[in-house]
Structures are given as C-alpha cells and as structure tokens.
C-alpha cells in the first residue's frame, strides 16, 4: 500500500462545531487513502498526532481531517491556516474493507468517530446504502449529519443530554437496527467503551468492524506502542492499531 512522508498544504480550515475543526489539505498521495486509514501529523509535541480521514477526494487530490480540540496538538492544528503546510506520514494503517452488498449495513459513530465513517459511506455508496447512527454528547457536537444526508442517507441521532435526536447513547438505535436487520454488518468508530458495547451487542447477530484509537509512537509499526489484545492462534496476542488496524473485526479483539 502507498504511504509516504508528505508536505501537504492546507486548502481550507473550517469550524464544524464548537471546538471541532475540519482541515482540507491537498495531497495526491493522501488522496489514495482507504476510508478508516489515518494521517500521522507532525505538531510541536514529541509525537505525531493520528487523525483519520474525514473525506477522501481522489479526483481533486484532497483529503479532510476533522478533529476535536482536546490538547496542545489539536489546538495547534486548529490554528493552522490556508496555505500553511502540514508534515504528514500517510496514509497509514488498514481501513474499512468494502461492505458486503448483499447484507444490510449500518454505520455507528460516536463523537469524532463519525468522520471516518462518512469517508466509508462516500466510498462504498455505489455498492450499498448504509443506515447511519450518530452519537454525541450534545446537539452542538453532532458531526457530519448533513454530509450524510447530502449522500441521501437516513441519519439517526442520539445525544447524551437529549438536545438532539434520541436521548441516550447510540446503543438504543443500534439495538433497534440489529433487531430489524438480522445478519447485518456494522462499521463503528468512537470512544473505546462505545466500541466495546457495539461489539457486545453485535455478537452473534451482526458482523462488526471497529476503528480503534490507541496512543501511538511511530504510527508505522516499529515501536509497538499502539497495541490491542486480540485472539491469537493459540493464546492472546497483541496487534498494532497503526498497522494491523485501526480497523479490526470486532470478534478478533479481546475487550
């Protein structure tokens, strides 16, 4: 798979929600990405910052990076402007494979887990039309709902505080979906506890693929920082989120 160190100019910096920014950057190399892959971005810190692609526009050689400002690295990124250049390793990792068009498909995203699912929806729309469930803490932080709608998709929203859509987590709408769609396939991305819950809910009912987050060092498979426990041939083993992941079949993993 292609992956390089690229210097990618920022084409646009847009606020998408309070404390949430999307950068559109120009890079032919990065625009070869699969949905679910990520960019490892140089910031002033000691480590690069991993961010998934929110959009992958191969035609125009552009990709999107949508992130929440949570610390120094993302704050620095949020302040970068049109014309500034980001130093990025990527595209990295293994993303979402194409869904099986013969089976119902659902995307379940929580918080900043939504953007890579949008990239997956946009990429595989010609094969299959997913149902979309978006969770967020509050109405303001529901990401990309309009983008999904622009793809013609139905979007179910759940917010922790009930300010938009269902009150509660994505698990309510997902349960309904799982009951309505036996033998479905679920792509999920979001906070780890959410993914654990999605994985448990899907067990025996749907095939779940989850995109994980883990603290990373190198981002390219050398340092073994970013591991998750998985079922090995004989006993438990570690897999690297940056290389074997970030997308894993939920049943591979030990939660």
């Amino acid at each position: 798979m292609i992956s390089e160190q690229v210097l990618a100019p920022i084409v646009e910096n847009r606020a998408v929600a309070p404390d949430h920014v999307e950068l559109i950057i120009s890079s032919a190399v990065l625009s070869q990405a699969e949905p679910g892959q990520f960019a490892h971005i140089l910031t002033p810190g000691m480590l690069r910052r991993p961010v998934s692609f929110s959009r992958i526009d191969q035609e125009n050689g552009q990709v999107g990076l949508m992130f929440q400002i949570v610390g120094d690295g993302t704050r620095w990124l949020a302040e970068r402007r049109h014309g500034e250049v980001l130093d990025i390793l990527g595209p990295l990792g293994h993303g979402f494979a194409a869904p099986d068009p013969t089976k119902p498909w659902c995307l379940v995203g929580g918080g900043v887990g939504v953007p890579p699912l949008y990239a997956a929806a946009a990429r595989y729309l010609h094969r299959s039309r997913p149902d979309v469930i978006i969770g967020a803490r509050t109405a303001d932080w529901v990401l990309m709902a309009q983008d999904f709608k622009d793809l013609g998709l139905d979007v179910t929203v759940a917010t922790d505080d009930g300010t938009a859509g269902h009150a509660g987590t994505v698990m309510g709408p997902l349960e309904t979906w799982l009951q309505d769609h036996p033998d479905g396939q679920v792509f999920a991305c979001g906070p780890t506890p959410m993914l654990a819950a999605v994985s448990a809910a899907c067990e025996g009912r749907a095939t779940a693929y989850v995109a994980l987050e883990q603290r990373m060092g190198c981002g390219i498979g050398a340092c073994l920082a970013c591991v998750v426990k998985a079922h090995g041939k004989e006993h438990a083993e570690y897999r690297r989120v940056c290389t074997e992941g970030p997308v894993f079949a939920a049943k591979e993993l030990i939660w």
Binding site: E4, M46, L47, A222, A225, V227
Partner: protein, 313 residues
C-alpha cells in the same frame, strides 16, 4: 571527510549513526521513509529466547521534550526473529546489531549463542536493563556483579563484537562499565532510558499501563552526555553514545564527550528521515568546528585534552 568508525573485532561502520534499539523495529517498517543502507547500523528491538508479550497500554506518554515508554520489551522471540525479521535487514546490507534481553543470565547466553555465526548479525548489544526474575525484579544493569555475570556468560558463547548497554538509573555508571569491561565486553552503549513516571490526572493514576516507564528524547541529553563523559574516563573500550540526539550538532557533542559512534531513537518518531539528514549534515558540521574526521573529534572535551579557549567574541 572520513566519517567511518572502526570498532573492536573488525566491526566497521560507514558512519557513526546507528538506529537505536526499540525505536526502529526490525527494519522493514521504516524502510519506506529511511535509507537503511546509508545508516551506520541498526540495533533491532530487544530479542529474547521466547516471545515476550510486553506491558498493558498506554505504552507511550509525552513529557516536556521527552517521551516515556513502557513497551515492556515485547518481541517475537529469537527464532521468529531469525526466520522472519533478520533476512530483510541482511538484504539491505545493514550492519545489524542484535539487542539481546533475558530474565536470567542463562537466557542472555541462549540468545547470544543462537546469534553466533548467523550471517547478517554484525554485533550484539546486551541490554541489561531488563528486570531479572531471580534477584527479585531489579535489573541486571543496576548491580556490577550481575552485570558482570551476564556479560561473562555472553562472552563465553560468542565471538561477535559485544557491547553492553548501560542503565543511567544507577549511582555509579562507571562501576557497571568497569564490571562489564572486565567480563569481556568490547564496547559500551549508553544510555538506556531514565526511569520516569507520568500522572494521568483525570483518572488519578499513573499514565502508563506499565506504571513507570523509560524516559527518552532531548530532555535526557544532558544526563546521557554526563554518563558518556564519566564512562569514557572509567574504561578503555569504545562507547556508543545516545540519549536525545536530534541533530548533527548533538552527534558532535557526544563525540567530544567520548563516544565513538551514536544511536538515534526517539527523534525518528517525529522525523523518520532525520538519521539520513544527520549523516548528510555531519561532514559539514565537523568541518565547521575544525575536525577532519569523526575520529578526530572523539573525546576532545575529556579532561587532559587542551581545550581550545576562544579569543574575542
């Protein structure tokens, strides 16, 4: 300009810049970004007789200009290493230094014996910072007698050039260096990481899965230079220096403090091509400060060398 380095038992490096163990995997991962053939050498991730699983996550945490890691020496074991990992580096014509680890003296000797006469293995680096099981989890590198025992056992089973990698977490690194020199070490590499801790305030617990971790990166450079400088005055074998190197000027500092070559670790995570850039910049930097070769600079800041005191500004 001559940047080559001649080390004991015929070990020759085309330049003094070696990838540091644990930060460069077994080579292929970085090969997309790094010109491995241009490096002075590659020290691979620590290898034990059997696979080690390593520590729980999180395994890395940023600190002020430093990096804490608690990888826990995860590795696939020596047999898998030889079958699956070594061939790649051998094909790149890399000078491969196998970093060896064990929980007992015997385990170190097992790995050393297994590597002997393996084509493509240029040298061994004995990492004595592993927790030793027999003596209650302290590391072999924190006691001169145990360090001696490990090196002695390794020496008995190999003709390869062997360096011992020192822990800075001891009162007198020079004493450990003397012990391993007496046990037949050909070289010293220094330093391994400093033991550190970070607190995850939100969750009110140590940030790393392994609780404490090893501190690397620019933050530790002054400590690394001190250890190199101290050890250079304690033993008569060459030193490979490391700890926080990020530029060619940093390399020169280690040479002046007494190192013959260096290893570069943490900075590679930020700048994968940095080792190559350092190698390219080094001749110019040496020249600028009046050195005609790498060898020329080694140990020039040690006591007894007439310091060049600058006149004027």
């Amino acid at each position: 300009m001559d940047v080559s380095v001649s080390l004991p038992r015929g070990l020759t490096l085309k330049n003094p810049v070696i990838a540091a163990s644990g930060t460069f995997g077994f080579g292929p991962e970085y090969s997309r970004y790094v010109d491995i053939g241009a490096l002075g050498g590659v020290s691979v991730k620590g290898v034990s007789p059997e696979p080690w699983l390593g520590n729980p996550t999180p395994r890395v945490w940023e600190t002020p200009l430093g990096l804490l890691n608690s990888i826990g020496l995860q590795n696939p074991g020596m047999d898998v290493f030889l079958q699956e990992d070594l061939p790649f580096l051998r094909d790149q014509n890399a000078v491969v230094i196998v970093n060896i680890i064990g929980h007992t003296v015997d385990e170190y000797a097992q790995v050393a014996a297994r590597m002997n006469h393996e084509p493509g293995v240029a040298a061994l680096e004995v990492n004595i910072s592993c927790p030793n099981i027999k003596e209650g989890g302290m590391s072999f590198g924190q006691d001169p007698d145990q360090a001696y025992a490990v090196m002695k056992a390794v020496r008995q089973v190999t003709d390869l050039p062997v360096m011992v990698k020192l822990s800075p977490n001891v009162t007198y690194p020079g004493l450990i260096a003397q012990a391993v020199e007496a046990a037949g070490a050909d070289m010293i590499s220094a330093i391994n990481t400093l033991v550190g801790l970070a607190i995850d305030i939100k969750h009110r617990r140590p940030a790393l899965g392994g609780v404490t971790g090893g501190l690397s990166g620019p933050a530790i450079k002054p400590v690394a230079l001190r250890v190199v400088y101290e050890v250079a005055q304690s033993v008569n074998i060459p030193i490979i220096g490391m700890g926080g190197i990020a530029t060619a000027t940093d390399v020169l500092e280690f040479l002046l403090a007494g190192a013959q070559a260096v290893m570069v670790g943490t900075v590679t995570f930020q700048y994968p091509k940095r080792m190559n850039e350092i190698i390219e910049a080094l001749p110019q930097v040496l020249h600028e400060y009046g050195f005609a070769s790498v060898r020329d600079a080694v140990g020039q800041a040690l006591p007894g060398r007439a310091p060049i005191r600058g006149g004027g500004q």
